[in-house]
Symmetry: C2
Subunit: 235 residues, 2 copies
């Protein structure tokens, strides 16, 4: 662990509580437009289209597209499915940028601030750069550098998504630790030689969550928040 | 000016005093190795090879290479020219990373910290990402995002170096201000529609500096440091 120089953070679910934030944004949109709908169901459906949309790109069936564009396509589709009409392009753009306005879990700003004293803190998210920068600015997330799918032009868990971002920092895998609430992300990272920290977020998908409620493997660090990670890493 | 969302900073010369720092690093290397040489002349010669090395890449005569690699080639060449032998590959690597250990001008940390309250602060440097991140970490430069030639795969003043980095932030040119001590950098940026701030650094190249001692044009902001820029932008 002493060779670790940089921590790479998954963001959606690990650092930010996307579900609560997206439900809030959708409800606020509904109130403004005078539309009543199952906004929690809408949020879950929107997130449900996340992996299938990225898989089209990962598989090569579609050319490279950033997440803002994939999110927008999914949003337009869901507005139709939920029978919501009379929404302007500008309103759709603004609602789509709800993903730029996600709130962090309460432990994040404190924990990351402690971790920053000792490590390079980087995102390694499937979110695009503008999304991650706008989110960090609003939420006070103290990243040293903002990397992810867009700087790699590859979506996790493809190996290139990790490798190209480690190369941008001129670091070898054993000098990098992936921090995520998702076992699959850590599996892909450790397969390349990265270290792994599991941060349990058992309500990311709401009260009935079944996936990723616990670590699948004996990861280097297992904790339940960023302050716990800071303590585990002597920060 | 009210439309400006992000400030893009040139780094070498504008934010950091590369010359004083490189002379210090070379002298320290000389002391360690028991070598006496004209280290100021060596530093100026090293920087003198900077534009010619990048021009080989800009022109397409060479494939894309990051600045750390170009710096290292120039260093090896100059060690030969200065008759300095018996230097190991590891020592050359460490000396080459002197460019990761440059000190900021004294106004930078204060000024950037003020500017960060209102704007997205991004590098837009010909330095590679690892160089800029390591420099910021050591010097306490509070960037929101680290962009430059490596994220654009193009060296300034090619238009792609500016355009691709603005695209990463999903911003239009009038939402971006280039901050530089070099008139040519501002000319290239404003040709694309960016705003421009000239920060005078009349001793960047030493006491006899003749280039860029004053602004060539009536740039949007003309100042002599980052605290002056913060005041000009009401931060």
């Amino acid at each position: 662990m002493e060779s670790v120089k940089a921590l790479f953070f998954d963001v959606f679910g690990t650092v930010v509580d996307w579900r609560t934030s997206i439900v809030r944004e959708l409800a606020s949109f509904g109130q403004m437009k005078g539309i009543d709908a199952d906004w929690t169901g809408f949020a879950d459906a929107w997130r449900g289209l996340y992996q299938p949309a990225m898989e089209e790109v990962r598989s090569g069936r579609r050319d490279w597209m950033i997440l803002d564009e994939l999110h927008r396509e999914s949003l337009v589709r869901l507005l139709g499915q939920f029978g919501i009409g009379a929404v302007s392009d500008g309103e759709i753009d603004d609602l789509n940028r709800a993903w730029h306005r996600l709130d962090p879990w309460p432990d994040c700003v404190d924990g990351l601030t402690r971790l920053k004293t000792k490590y390079i803190l980087s995102t390694l998210s499937n979110g695009n750069t503008a999304l991650l920068v706008n989110m960090a600015k609003r939420a006070g997330l103290p990243w040293d550098v903002v990397l992810g799918a867009e700087t790699a032009r590859a979506y996790k868990p493809l190996p290139e998504a990790y490798r190209r971002n480690m190369a941008l920092l001129a670091l070898k895998p054993h000098q990098c630790m992936m921090v995520a609430a998702h076992n699959d992300d850590l599996k892909a990272a450790t397969a390349l030689g990265m270290r792994a920290a599991f941060v349990a977020r058992p309500t990311e998908y709401g009260p009935g969550q079944t996936r990723d409620v616990a670590p699948d493997e004996d990861w280097d660090v297992i904790t339940d928040g960023m302050t716990g990670l800071a303590t585990a890493l002597d920060c």
